[in-house]
């Protein structure tokens, strides 16, 4: 693998849209059955960032979310807890309290989420505040304005500053891929973020209609693979936005597994950011356990 590190990254920066999308589509034909399906469903839960990012979020709503996160199926304790809950900074205190001792981490969006368009010092304060409240993970947005004007140095400097502000907390950089214009740019943004110190790169805020797609994740996974080859650094990936069904979730697992290898199929390196996904996964598990198709009345709405 050393040979890959010898080559400048600029040699491999283009992405062919049609071939990339065809590859992603071909991976959706993987048929996940029986034991593989149960393993995939459990893994999707273990890798899940159960998310609520609404202006109307309240301590009560967060408490309910955290309960669901730590014990997704109260009738079946075989079902593992999710990886983290993802909330706004103001909700971090409640989330930290509600998940204490459960192993479920607290992730907070920060840095003028979801636009990222406020003064850097304010964004950094926002990050520091969330960390101070006890967040283990910080999800910030890439400065798309700077990226799209071609000011890549600024983009990287800001990510580096955010990383510093995070201290011990893990930094996830949201590329908001739906706003970047294409896969070449997604790849470039991935590379810049990883070089600047991101622990994770993440697809989307969930706040615009064009959220995570399989080809986008494939594209980012390929960038992570090349970055690892070039630097030895292992960067994680979070797919977020628009992931609602168990089937979508295991498509992501397949794409990650077949691109980055099964080493990446852990909560340390892969996350699915979602809110309604968990219930679909639970219904699928119900079907596996009982042999009957489940319905929405048989899982809790939180």
């Amino acid at each position: 693998m050393a040979c890959i590190t010898d080559k400048p990254l600029s040699l491999a920066t283009s992405v062919d849209q049609v071939a990339l999308e065809a590859r992603a589509k071909s991976l959706t034909t993987r048929s996940i059955k029986t034991t593989s399906k149960r393993a995939a469903l459990h893994l999707s839960i273990r890798c899940m960032d159960l998310t609520t990012l609404e202006g109307a979020d309240t301590p009560g709503k967060v408490a309910s979310l955290c309960q669901k996160a730590t014990r997704p199926d109260p009738t079946n304790l075989d079902v593992p807890p999710v990886a983290a809950v993802c909330v706004y900074p103001e909700m971090v205190d409640y989330a930290v309290a509600a998940t204490a001792g459960t192993g479920v981490k607290v992730a907070s969006v920060a840095g003028a989420f979801p636009s990222g368009l406020s003064r850097l010092s304010i964004r950094l304060d926002d990050i520091a505040d969330a960390v101070a409240r006890g967040a283990h993970e910080i999800d910030i947005v890439l400065n798309r304005s700077a990226f799209l004007t071609g000011d890549y140095n600024l983009v990287m400097d800001e990510v580096a500053a955010a990383k510093e502000a995070c201290g011990e907390a893990h930094l996830k950089v949201i590329l908001e891929t739906g706003e970047l214009g294409g896969y070449d740019q997604i790849r470039r943004a991935s590379m810049l973020s990883m070089h600047a110190g991101a622990d994770f790169i993440k697809t989307s805020t969930g706040k615009i209609p064009k959220a995570s797609t399989l080809p986008v994740v494939l594209c980012m996974a390929e960038a992570i693979r090349d970055h690892a080859d070039a630097t030895g650094e292992i960067i994680g990936l979070k797919a977020a936005g628009g992931i609602r069904t168990a089937k979508q979730a295991w498509h992501y697992l397949v794409v990650i597994g077949e691109t980055l290898g099964t080493d990446w199929l852990t909560p340390d390196l892969f996350r699915l950011g979602a809110s309604s996904l968990l219930n679909d996964v639970l219904q699928q598990l119900g079907k596996l356990d009982t042999g009957r198709y489940s319905g929405p009345d048989y899982v809790t709405v939180d």
Binding site: D16, Q17, V18, A19, E21, G181
Partner: protein, 281 residues
């Protein structure tokens, strides 16, 4: 006794833009209807054929690489040069037995053929090429390309028009030709060669061998560096099993119309190339 004893022309082969004698040293007599000697034409051997193919192969890539506009102009130039030497062509045809009226008409038609095919150089793509609506995100198009080196059995009749019609159809797209002409038609062929040699046509694009078709055809069919053979003027007493040799390198064989004026006569010596490219951003 004549004041001026005419200087008779030596009819040689036309290979790679030059006029060599056959390496075999052989000639054959061409006589008029009354038996008077018109010329001792060179009788090409298989080795002359080999040299002609080498010349044709050497010229092919750059001939095909010229713009269609340029090839069209060069074919048109051949018409100009023929027009300039019109009386000579009429006279040669009359010598080999064509009536004055028919000779005159045939020369006119032959000149016209060059002009007609010259105009096709930059139009075959229009009528034979396509953009194909494939069911996917791909731009897909098909266009004609020359086959390569084409062996031509030139029609015996009409001596000039037949040869010009076949040659023009073969070379206009970028093929190069090695044509075999037999008997009295040889005189018209070599006179044509003199026109081609002065028409900006690169050496080797057209090579003319005079001689015995039955002797040369088996070598032509078996030659691994000939891509297609025009059998339109194949000998009438052809042993059909000779044609089986086409299979040695999957040669294209063409039976055409000796005086065809048709874009499809060009198409017979074309390959269709299809290119796919994704459409994305």
């Amino acid at each position: 006794m004549n004041e001026h004893l005419p200087v008779d022309k030596t009819f040689k082969l036309f290979i790679g833009g030059a006029f060599p004698r056959s390496e075999s040293g052989r000639t054959f007599a061409v006589r008029d209807a009354k038996g008077a000697l018109l010329a001792n034409a060179s009788q090409a051997s298989r080795k002359d054929l080999r040299e002609a193919v080498r010349a044709a192969r050497g010229a092919q890539e750059s001939w095909a690489g010229r713009t269609a506009y340029n090839r069209g102009q060069i074919l048109y130039r051949a018409a100009e040069m023929m027009e300039a030497r019109r009386p000579e062509f009429v006279s040669v045809l009359r010598q080999i037995g064509v009536t004055p009226k028919a000779a005159s008409k045939q020369v006119d038609q032959a000149i016209d053929r060059w002009v007609w095919y010259a105009g096709w150089a930059d139009k075959t793509h229009h009528i034979l090429g396509t953009v194909n609506p494939v069911a996917g995100p791909y731009f897909n198009f098909t266009f004609p390309e020359p086959t390569g080196v084409v062996g031509v059995m030139a029609p015996d009749e009409p001596a000039l028009l037949g040869l010009v019609s076949r040659l023009a159809a073969v070379i206009v797209s970028g093929n190069t030709a090695v044509a075999v002409v037999e008997g009295p038609a040889s005189l018209a062929a070599i006179t044509l060669a003199e026109v081609l040699a002065t028409s900006d046509l690169p050496g080797g694009v057209v090579n003319l061998l005079t001689g015995d078709k039955n002797e040369l055809l088996p070598w032509m069919m078996g030659h691994l560096d000939i891509n297609a053979v025009d059998l339109t003027g194949a000998p009438k007493d052809l042993d059909p099993t000779i044609l089986e040799e086409a299979a040695v390198n999957v040669k294209r064989t063409v039976w055409g119309d000796s005086t065809a004026e048709s874009p499809y006569a060009i198409a017979d010596f074309l390959e269709m190339k299809t290119v796919w490219h994704p459409i994305g951003k």
